[in-house]
């Protein structure tokens, strides 16, 4: 599997994601988001950070970066598109995922580890999870997910909600922590699985997430 990790000006989890992917034997490259061709990649990762300083709104400016056209193309073609934290914010701003992310209900940046429920264990990203809950790091100031009632009804009906918080840290509507697109190949979440893959750092709950992606992409089987 060939994966691109996009580097927007201000991204700061690009290397973390890159190292995590490498760790799973994925052929990953960090790609400058000013580049506009991503045809070579089976999966595209939008990492965490503060693209363009998160000025205006998180993800608002990044969605116009040249690479985003290529990301749309990849999404249309059914390739994997994964946005973590700031990457999730960019995907919603770009309209590749429904809804929007507001500032946390209790103001301020939170860095912690939180328990997530796996709401749908049959998505491309969770098919092989074999776990009902995960403990994953969060680190964000704007993770308060919002969608209007109509969108929410659809999200529930299509089983697009993948992860919810057990103890909602940011005010997200319906405790939503991660969702997929209608077609199921675009995924976004606020928590950071790439920060939880190395036993030395004390948490490996992110591993099943990457393993699941690898398996559904046919590499492990």
């Amino acid at each position: 599997m060939k994966a691109a990790v996009l580097d927007f000006p201000g991204s700061n989890c690009d290397f973390d994601m890159y190292y995590a992917l490498i760790d799973f034997g994925i052929d990953a490259k960090i790609i400058d988001a000013r580049q506009s061709n991503l045809d070579d990649y089976d999966a595209i990762f939008l990492p965490g950070g503060f693209s363009y300083g998160d000025y205006l709104r998180a993800g608002a400016i990044a969605r116009f970066a040249p690479a985003m056209e290529a990301v749309k193309k990849a999404a249309d073609q059914g390739r994997f598109v994964v946005g973590i934290c700031n990457g999730f914010q960019i995907l919603t701003e770009a309209g590749l995922l429904p809804g929007a992310l507001r500032m946390n209900a209790k103001a301020g940046f939170i860095c912690d580890q939180v328990l997530l429920n796996v709401e749908n264990d049959n998505s491309l990203f969770t098919k092989n999870l074999s776990r009902q809950q995960l403990l994953l790091p969060i680190a964000h100031a704007g993770g308060n997910y919002y969608a209007d009632q109509e969108t929410l009804t659809k999200l529930h009906a299509n089983r697009q909600i993948i992860f919810t918080y057990q103890d909602n840290p940011n005010g997200s509507i319906d405790d939503i922590a991660g969702i997929i697109s209608e077609k199921g190949n675009v995924f976004g979440m606020m928590p950071h699985p790439e920060r939880a893959v190395d036993p030395l750092l004390g948490n490996i709950d992110g591993r099943p997430f990457f393993e699941s992606i690898l398996q559904t992409s046919g590499v492990l089987n």
């Binding site: 000006p9 201000g10 700061n12 989890c13 290397f15 973390d16 190292y19 995590a20 965490g48 950070g49 503060f50 363009y52 300083g53 998160d54 000025y55 301020g108 940046f109 939170i110 860095c111 912690d112 790091p137 680190a139 100031a141 950071h192 790439e194 920060r195 190395d198 030395l200 750092l201 004390g202």
Partner: protein, 589 residues
């Protein structure tokens, strides 16, 4: 020589007769030295340059005699005090770079931006040596939490550190915080940063060499922010004076991330082209350029018309002293400018040649086609230093004659009271706002005794902590200094790691007060004594004097930042009890 006469500015004669220099912090005697050494009167701009460079903040004129006593050499030391940051050898061609900075007064006046720009400044100190910053720690002191005002100061400082560090993507992994009314009206905000150099041969120091090499300005544009910041940091506070607010600077972590990544890339890709780098901190272009010139034994010529500006009509005095953030000064080999400039431009940054290195030991500025300053660079950068008188504080004399026996009637109640003290209780409320995990190298996160950061690709890890107890130092400066080191070392050792070096931030009151000077002298002597015994040289640091409000000094607070090294990261230990039935030992006396 023609020194341009700007009709709006005071003439050299007026600067002298109206004692303009005194408003800027120079004493009559210092002005006389300048006049004598120069053989003429300094003009308005030149006087401004001296006032900034001879301020305590830039020159350490009052603390130098004390700083000189620091023990800072052993087999690991690659760079001791005097540069942007200190450097220690950690084997395999790698080195660790670290330093601490205070941003006390700016944070008292404008907590968010003061703390944020403190983080920005210390990070620039690290990456200007060519190193990749890998962690930040913060050491904070506030008054007891009594009212909304203290709370909003605390919130502001915490949010400022978080706002900058989180955005730039360097984890804030530890620090310490305590509350005591001694810091009422004069909080302490010290930040420490640690960087990694993968190849010792790419170490960059701020020394301008080579006639006709170019001086290149990179980063944000210059505005009128923080003019007089250096002199501001060197005077006491009065709770009355609102005018001090002109020193507020706004940080832009997004811009700094671009500057940081581009600078590290320039050093790695063009090590021979980039001869020297220095960040523009207090007294901006002035101190960075003159210090680089002086340390390299060179002169500097700058063309101020080339400086990228944000505001119109800035005069040389303002251009030179502005403390606009996120700016760096590079010396680049003649003929190699384009490669370096292109690299920064590609990152979307300003990079402009603004001057040259000369071989005549002069510091010359040109503005609108005229020479506006022409000074001996050594005179400018070497303020006279003062050995001040000291005397045993009265409170110590008194205390030594008293006996105090705590009366304990209800131990349980007392334990509960102690645990509920903000200084003692968990600091999670603060550090949960900091991204302590970004870069995915944090092995031991905040909440333990010290933080531990692994060095990716090796089995090595670094342990980091900041400590000092101002009350101990107040009661016994010498032993208090020793105890600061001992506490830091205990914290590092608790993670299973061997301490290897120290940085410091010496926060004291007004040094002209003999008791305060005694505290500084004695506590540093104590630090020194213990640093030697532990073989942990003091390789960098920072001095913050005049920490007083309405003539009341803070507790003497020499903050110690300590770094430890472990070769096998499997041997790192953590604070929590591991399992039922394990034995508990008490070690020590």
């Amino acid at each position: 020589m023609s020194i341009a006469a700007n009709p709006q500015l005071k003439s050299a004669e007026e600067v002298k007769s109206e004692r303009i220099y005194a408003q800027w912090g120079l004493t009559d005697q210092e002005f006389k030295i300048i006049e004598n050494e120069m053989g003429r009167l300094p003009n308005y701009t030149e006087t401004g340059l001296f006032s900034a460079m001879w301020s305590e903040h830039a020159s350490y004129k009052k603390s130098k005699p004390i700083l000189k006593t620091f023990w800072s050499k052993n087999e690991r030391v690659l760079q001791g005090p005097g540069e942007g940051a200190g450097i220690l050898d950690i084997g395999d061609g790698q080195a660790v770079v670290f330093k601490a900075e205070s941003h006390n007064h700016p944070s008292q006046v404008e907590p968010y931006q003061g703390a944020a720009t403190g983080v920005g400044g210390i990070l620039r100190d690290i990456f200007s040596m060519g190193a990749q910053p890998i962690a930040v720690l913060d050491s904070l002191r506030f008054s007891e939490i009594k009212n909304e005002q203290t709370k909003s100061l605390i919130d502001g400082v915490i949010d400022g550190i978080a706002g900058y560090g989180n955005a730039i993507g360097i984890p804030t992994v530890g620090g310490d915080v305590a509350f005591d009314d001694a810091y009422e009206g004069n909080l302490l905000c010290n930040v420490m940063s640690i960087g990694l150099l993968d190849h010792q041969d790419t170490i960059k120091v701020g020394q301008a060499h080579g006639k006709d090499n170019s001086v290149i300005y990179v980063g944000a544009k210059t505005g009128r922010d923080g003019i007089n910041g250096a002199t501001f940091a060197s005077t006491e506070f009065s709770s009355q004076e609102e005018s001090q607010r002109s020193a507020v600077q706004v940080g832009d972590p997004f811009m700094e991330k671009l500057v940081m990544d581009a600078t590290i890339k320039a050093v790695r890709e063009m090590p021979e082209a980039v001869i020297a780098i220095q960040d523009m901190g207090a007294a901006g272009i002035l101190s960075s350029s003159s210090e680089m010139g002086e340390k390299g034994g060179s002169g500097i010529w700058l063309d101020l018309d080339k400086v990228p500006v944000r505001e119109k009509g800035m005069i040389p005095y303002e251009l030179m002293l502005s403390e606009s953030q996120e700016r760096m000064l590079l010396v680049v080999a003649q003929g190699r400018e384009k490669g370096v400039i292109d690299l920064y431009r590609d990152a979307g940054l300003d990079a402009v040649v603004i001057g040259k290195v000369t071989d005549d030991s002069r510091y010359r500025l040109s503005f609108q086609g005229e020479t506006v300053a022409d000074l001996d660079i050594k005179l400018l950068t070497k303020a006279p230093s003062y050995k001040l008188p000291s005397k045993l504080p009265v409170h110590i004399k008194k205390a030594s004659q008293q006996q105090y026996q705590p009366k304990i009637s209800n131990p349980l109640q007392i334990i509960m009271q102690i645990l509920s003290q903000p200084t003692i209780s968990s600091k999670k409320f603060f550090y949960r706002h900091f991204d302590s995990m970004v870069r995915t190298d944090t092995v031991v996160k905040p909440g333990g005794d010290a933080a531990v950061i692994r060095i990716r690709g090796t089995k090595k890890a670094l342990s980091l902590t900041t400590d000092v107890n101002g009350r101990y130092v107040y009661l016994d400066p010498y032993r208090g200094g020793q105890m600061a080191i001992a506490e830091a070392a205990r914290n590092v050792v608790s993670t299973g790691v061997l301490p290897i070096g120290i940085t410091d931030c010496l926060n004291f009151g007004n040094p002209d007060n003999q008791e305060v000077y005694y505290e500084s002298e004695q506590s540093v002597a104590g630090i020194n004594n213990f640093a030697k015994q532990l073989n942990t040289p003091v390789v960098s640091g920072n001095v913050s004097l005049y920490n007083e409000t309405d003539n009341r000094a803070i507790y003497p607070t020499p903050m110690i930042g300590m770094v430890g090294l472990i070769r096998d990261n499997r041997k790192i230990t953590t604070i929590n009890f591991k399992k039922n039935g394990d034995l508990i030992y008490l070690i020590g006396s």
